[in-house]
Amino acid sequence: MAKKKVAMELGMGTSLRRQDYTKAAIRALQDALWHNSLTMADAFGFSREDMIVEVEIGVQKPEEVDIEAVKAILPYGKGSVRVVHGGLDIAKPASKNPKNADGANPDGADTDNTVIANAAVNVFFDMQPAAGKGART
């Protein structure tokens, strides 16, 4: 026995105006993590720092995700982040609002796409039955 997966957490995050793939990824990770409170380490008598946390992010432009910034969200454990092509980008309809005719975007920040990121967090322990125990596996 070695690395055993004990939990998976799922989340979704967006960047509505700035096409910020890192921010969408961070929000997806936070959505995944903060929908649950994992208390398994304590149940097994392990430390939370013994958790191996593997994050997988899906966005349409993986190369634009700052992996270190995403990793910095993880509160404990040994973390790693992988980004793949996924998530979803949706084009915005062009504004036909005459009130927005000039200087259409008050903060100049609007862009053409709404960005959606998916996050999956896999949690492992490098664990095994104690000597002479746990024959159930």
């Binding site: 026995m1 070695a2 055993k4 997966k5 004990v6 939990a7 998976m8 957490e9 799922l10 989340g11 959505d31 995944a32 929908h35 649950n36 409170s37 994992l38 208390t39 398994m40 304590d42 149940a43 097994f44 008598g45 392990f46 013994d50 896999n122 322990f125 490098d126 664990m127 095994q128 039955p129 104690a130 000597a131 125990k133 746990g134 159930r136 596996t137």
Partner: protein, 119 residues
């Protein structure tokens, strides 16, 4: 019994004022943000899992707890309903939106002495 996880979710019934429907949706939201993979990985049985469901809605007496319990796919579920959640009233349009919160604890009888970290 050791708690493995606390799963949290929210659900609503926007215009039907159905507190049970909102509660069931909150349960679905809570349970589908995670998976307890350890049952497969470690060969543990779901049957032994105790599932404590707490629902918060503004009218607890209107929640059908059996229907809420039926939403849980595995383990032995016990449903408690308390006053909580949120009702959003639109007086202009005469509508009431019901929001339910669900907190779900999954518990299992684990003896820490049975397991150790790999060296």
């Amino acid at each position: 019994m050791k708690r493995l996880i606390l799963e949290m979710g929210t659900g609503n019934d926007l215009y039907g004022e159905d507190y049970t429907k909102a509660a069931c949706r909150a349960v679905q939201d809570a349970i589908h943000h995670s998976s307890l993979v350890l049952f497969r990985s470690l060969g543990l049985s779901h049957e032994d899992m105790q599932v404590n469901v707490t629902i918060g809605v503004q009218r607890p007496e209107l929640v059908d707890t059996q229907k809420v319990a039926d939403e849980l796919p595995r383990g032995h579920a016990v449903v408690t309903v308390v006053k909580g959640g949120l009702n959003v009233e639109d007086t202009d349009n005469g509508t009431l939106s019901v929001i339910a919160t669900a907190a779900i604890e999954a518990c299992l009888d684990i003896n820490p002495d049975d397991w150790q970290l790999s060296q």
